[in-house]
Amino acid sequence: MNSLIFDISITFMVIAIIPCIYRVIKGPTIPDRVIAVDAMTTVIVVILGIYSYMQESAFFMDVALVLAIISFVGTVTISKYLDEGAVF
């Protein structure tokens, strides 16, 4: 039962990455791509959540938190770069 839910949800989540990659390629604008990568990190956070849920171990939660933080940093940085053409 559990492993079925696991397989289904993980597979769905991986399928959910497809649109992200699609946007990364297709664009058409750079912000679209940024959104796509940002969304992709959200999906990965969810996948990590599912892993933690299924394996009942906290290892992946650390990864999730790191990912959430770092993806925020990345998004803000790229946005600022887009806006001002400078990072710092």
Partner: protein, 789 residues
Amino acid sequence: MDSFNVITAAIFLPFIFAGLVPVMEKLLKQRIGWFAVATALACFILIGMAAPGVIEEGHIVQGTIPWIPSAGVDFTIYADGLAMMIGFIVSGIGVLIMFYSNGYMSKTEDLKRYYQYLLLFMGSMIGMVFSGNTIQLFIFWELTSITSFMLIGYWRHKPESIYGAIKSLLLTASGGLAMLAGFLLLGNITGSFDLTAILNDPQVINTIKEHELFLIILILIFIGAAAKSAQGPFYIWLPNAMEAPTPVSAFLHSATMVKAGIYLVARIHPIFSGTEAWFILVSGTGIITMLVAGFLAFRQTDIKGILAYSTISQLAYMMTMYGYTTHHEPGIGVAAATFHLLNHATFKACLFLVAGIVAHEAATRDIRKLGGLRREMPITFIIACIAGLAMAGIPPLNGFLSKEMFYESSIEMGASIGGIFTFLIPAFAVLGGVFTFAYSIKLIDGIFLGERDKEAIPHHIHEPPMTMLIPPAFLAFLIILFGVIPSLPTHYIIEPAVSGILLETAHLHVKLWHGVTTSLIMTIVTFILGILIYTKYDRIAAWQDNFNMKNPRISINYYYDRTVDSAKGNAFRFSSKSQTGSIKLYMIAMLLLMIALIAIPAAILATNIVPSQLNFDIPPYEAILLVLLIVAALSAAILPKYLPAIIALSALGYGVSLLYIYLKAPDLALTQILVETLSTIIFLLAITKIPQKYKEKISLSVFTRDILIAITVAASVFVVLINATQGIVDPFASLSHYFIDNSLLLAGGHNIVNVIIVDFRGYDTLGEISVMCLAALGVYNLIHSRSEE
């Protein structure tokens, strides 16, 4: 002191004293030359101390000091009659030259350097002749090349000096390399570089003669000898070597160093003679050189130029004679050659010294401007006449004797071959003699007889100081002495030397008069023809000039110059073709090598390139992720603009970290996620100031090539990886067992990966953080290394 030590001392004394020259110069100031004279004299005496045993008893001084035993190279002395003779010539003429230099060299010259080089040369030369080990011989041999190079280039600012110096070095030193190869092969056959071992053992000589590499070794060694003695095509360096100060020319480029090649031929005579190859190679080269150089001497207007060509031609005499050989009588011309070697040293050195006097006093060496000096410098004139006539082969001077012997041996050699050669070889010899006669006369005539061009040399010319007069006078004395009392040199010098060469006791009977022989007739023919030619001397010279003008390509110098002049250009063309500056080509070269290195074992050793059992079992979500990774990577490759490509790259990075999660590596996933974002930030920092100026348009051919390379790289990696991941070959297992079992037990950590990083393999991590620091320091350097601000 036993003889071995004495000779060793004679070898190293000049080296040590050369080192002392700067110190002595402080003491003696401009009289430093006398220090050099003393050194040379000391060497002469030292060699003389060892001489009696060799000369009287036919005893050969041999001895060895281990030097590089592990390479089979020892410091070995082999002092037989031949070595003694050359040793005496070197140190004896050395004394005279240094003596003479005291008068010749202006006090404003860099005397320190001059005498240092001369002494170093003398030491090298003495070392060379007494070498009983081929490698040791080679070392001293090359040292003479280098000192010669330095002395030719003594006046370093003159382009001619530089030209002559580098030419001599290139030809003689590369000839030396060929010789080295010959010695090495010889060493391989005999098992050692010990010359004495070869010379003392006929068995070994036989082995060499029968070896398949015999001819190659002979040719290689002979190339070295020929280059040193300016024979064959290598002769071209010697005329340019005349840029050296005249005493140097007298010492190195006529009396001693150029004899090194002759010495070598004599030294290896017992090993290689008695074969057709020896005759063809040595005598063939000798005869051609003798004729060509003798003929070419006509064109020279510089006294030293004439002397240079004459030296080449005279050395060719010796070469020719040493080359005379048959199976039954290997050393037909050995005695004659050896005698001529000695005689040539006396009269040619003398002539050079005279040339030096003339140049010193008249401030020119141009034979067209000179003339009539007999009145102003009669002593010099007499000396010059003695030496010149000796060279021309006029009795009763020593040159006559050795030329007679040359003719005799030529007849004998011609007869032993038979056929047309019976006449041809003596005829060549006579022709050589004719040329010699002609230019010898020209030399005396041009300088001392007739009237000189008063406009060119208006001032009065007088005799040189005694320091410059005594050495040539002494040599002139020797010329007469050896000519009149030939038994003196033959008994004490030539016989031991010939014995040394032939490895058997030799007895010579040289007399001024031994009846009307064929050789005497040849000599008379020589004089008659010589006088005839001399009447046409200027016309021949003019014809040569003309010919040379019209056919510049018929000249070895032309090809040498062309090669050297164009070497740089050609080399640069080559290097700019290979080192194009295009990093892409560099990468392709490397990648292709990598592919080839995987393909070679795959082609040779692999039975099946991809293992038969493959694992296709994969959960669908992982398969989808793999496809997505490829797509992300592809988009990073395809997207033309920086920012989208960087974003795609970071998507790839996040994908990879997800894959790490699937592969159960949370630490990796964490690290990858973090690193990904940081790299993105650094990418952004870097492209902040880089506007994207162009979009690469890939032509079809480039695209096809790159794709092919990419696919091949992928395929090779695939093949290696798919084989490698078949698991560890039984019965071995992974180190990881240890880590898993002991991580908690011994290192107190639950996270095995982290424990490996900070403990089991913490040393790696120490390196890794060093790399981080390096990146930071490097970036600082990058930022703060602007050209000009």
